[in-house]
């Protein structure tokens, strides 16, 4: 495997918001260019700095791990939608902060 590292993702399994968060979290390691096609998202990753010590294979697996982790977070957020706000509202009622 060589640079740039590329991945093609099914956008049903990896929605754009998941890809964005994964790219954000890796910003100091790889610079990721996101291409949106019909049902897929393509990622092209270059090292973020010249002196990056990660091999392309390692980068590929790191990117995939982050994508999977953010996809899982997305699943958790969907399963728990609204609960966080209800909790905060109940806990902080009366503190004078509105909206």
């Amino acid at each position: 495997m060589t640079w740039p590292v590329t991945l093609k993702l099914d956008s049903a399994a990896y929605p754009l918001s998941v890809v964005q968060r994964a790219a954000y979290s890796l910003a100091d390691t790889v610079t990721i260019q996101v291409g949106i096609e019909a049902n897929q998202i393509s990622l092209t990753a270059h090292p973020a700095e010249a002196r990056l010590t990660l091999s392309p294979e390692q980068a590929h697996s790191l990117i995939l791990q982050h994508l999977n982790d953010f996809a899982l977070r997305d699943h958790i957020n969907r399963e728990t939608a609204g609960l966080r706000e209800v909790l905060a509202r109940a806990a902080l009622a009366g503190c004078g902060v509105s909206q």
């Binding site: 910003a27 966080r84 806990a91 902080l92 009366g94």
Partner: protein
């Protein structure tokens, strides 16, 4: 005999539902390498299989793991116990500080100073002038502002330059506050941050009457301290130590506390700095890294260091501290102690610089010598970089107006960590905070990019390190950390008990 499959009516067979939680890979190489944190701030260490099982409703009811998930608020059973009341109680306890107005009020009485510290964050004014002193009218207005906060306990801290060079103003302010407090009945604590070089008997008499405490800078042993903090007479260390002794003689051992500021030179000597604090009889040390303000920035290429270097220093220093505590010397690291409080208890540490919503303006206010009000000490230091964008207003404006200013709104919008990119998904967010002022100073954007944030790297580095110690440290390490958490002696914490 039956030629077709019996179709069951689809039911929701999930015996539990998820509660909001976050996870982080700790990369320690252990089996249970994933940290889960609930919105209450409770946590568990799990592995990949457990995280998947949890997320996909595959954890078997009645098992110890299942019961832990229920008890620590990662899951709940619809139709059975409703955990919201206790979750709300924990959440509220953690965010208790929102329910009161600013409690820390800093009065910058002068910029005059006799030191020329390399990392100083304020411009130093000559000793003789008074053009950089807080005026009487502004000081009086500031006292009015102070009492407009509804916080039941207030800390009045005098800053500078060197506040003792404007002692008459300090005296006036203390007297006005005490007089006003007869009616207000708040709990008031006075602190003077000072080099202790300009102490007099008169000042100490006054401090004794009003129970004023002192906070000073002690960077380490003499060569290090004097190199960091030059004075014309090159004896900053000697005079500071004399000052410490004098304060203790007059006001008691604990009437003075000390902070370090770490330059790259400091980072080479963790044990020496700690040994200095031990020989000066301090019970706590604060090992905070340089901030990106004032002169520090101008001399960045000489003084500044990557945060990774600070973290390496800190780990060494902490290891040494753990070692000496186990030998019976009580010296706690104050930032670690407050992080431990955040991790191990449902209470907030109260520290204004690590909160969400951020403490700038909500927890602390700075009444600067120039008559303007700033939301934090760092914000007024940006002034010295030519950046006046973070003024809330003048000290003559009522507090409600200052706190409704556009600057305040901008800080609040970028000051709730749970809503910031990078932080909102971070498992450490219950224990951490937001610092829009630092991000504004370092990245020119109060929200900032988390991956390039020193504030994030520092806190994440320290929190991860502490979680590692809590998980893997032996019993004696636990005992030291618990002794810091509750300010007890190491010997009194005979056994670590359940690690949770």
């Amino acid at each position: 005999m039956w030629g077709f499959a019996v179709t069951l009516i689809a039911t929701d067979a999930k015996h539990y539902r998820l509660l909001p939680f976050r996870f982080m890979r700790m990369n320690t190489g252990h089996d249970r390498d994933i940290l889960l944190t609930s919105d209450t701030g409770e946590y568990m260490h799990v592995n990949d299989a457990q995280l998947r099982a949890l997320s996909y409703f595959d954890v078997q009811a009645g098992t110890p793991f299942y019961k832990d998930l229920l008890a620590r608020h990662f899951i709940y059973e619809p139709g059975r116990h409703d955990p919201f009341p206790e979750m709300a109680a924990q959440y509220r306890s953690r965010k208790d500080f929102i329910f009161q107005g600013p409690a820390l009020h800093l009065f910058v009485v002068t910029l005059r100073c006799n030191h020329t510290c390399q990392y100083c964050q304020v411009s130093r004014a000559p000793l003789g002038g008074s053009g950089h002193d807080l005026s009487e009218a502004d000081a009086q207005a500031a006292v009015d502002r102070l009492f407009e906060s509804n916080a039941p306990a207030l800390t009045v801290e005098f800053q500078g330059g060197e506040p003792l060079l404007a002692f008459e103003r300090v005296r006036q302010i203390v007297e006005w506050v005490v007089e006003r407090n007869v009616v207000e009945q708040r709990e008031i604590q006075f602190v003077i941050t000072t080099t202790l070089h300009h102490l007099t008997e008169e000042i100490l008499d006054f401090a004794e009457q009003n129970r004023i405490q002192f906070s000073t800078s002690l960077d380490g042993p003499a060569p290090l301290h004097n190199a960091n903090r030059p004075t014309p007479s090159r004896d900053s260390y000697e005079r500071t130590v004399k000052g410490i002794q004098w304060v203790r003689e007059r006001l008691g051992h604990d009437a003075v506390s000390a902070l370090t500021t770490l330059t790259s030179r400091s980072l080479e000597q963790p044990e020496a700095i700690i040994n200095e604090y031990v020989s000066q009889g301090f019970s706590s040390i604060s090992l905070r890294p340089l901030s990106p303000y004032g002169f520090a920035t101008k001399s960045a290429h000489r003084l500044d260091y990557p945060i990774e270097q600070y973290l390496a220093f800190y780990k060494k220093a902490l290891a040494y501290l753990l070692h000496i505590n186990q030998q019976g010397v009580y010296l706690s690291e104050s930032y670690a102690s407050l992080l431990l409080k955040n991790i191990l208890t449902p209470f907030s540490s109260g520290y204004v610089d690590l909160r969400s919503p951020a403490g700038a303006g909500t927890a602390a206010l700075v009444y600067n010598y120039d008559g303007y009000v700033y939301p934090s000490d760092e914000a007024r230091m940006l002034l010295e970089m030519g950046e006046d964008g973070l003024r809330l207003g003048t000290v003559q404006q009522p507090l409600s107006e200052l706190l409704a200013s556009p600057v305040m709104k901008a800080l609040l919008t970028s000051g709730v960590a749970e809503a910031l990119p990078g932080c909102s998904d971070c498992a450490l967010v219950p224990y951490c905070g937001a610092d829009p002022v630092e991000h504004y100073a370092r990245q020119a954007d109060p929200i900032g990019h988390r991956v390039f944030s020193s504030f994030c790297k520092k806190n994440m580095g320290l929190l991860k390190h502490l979680f590692g110690l809590l998980c893997d440290g032996d019993d004696n390490v636990q005992r030291v950390l618990l002794s810091w958490l509750n300010r007890r002696s190491y010997n009194d914490v005979r056994f670590p008990g359940y690690r949770g």
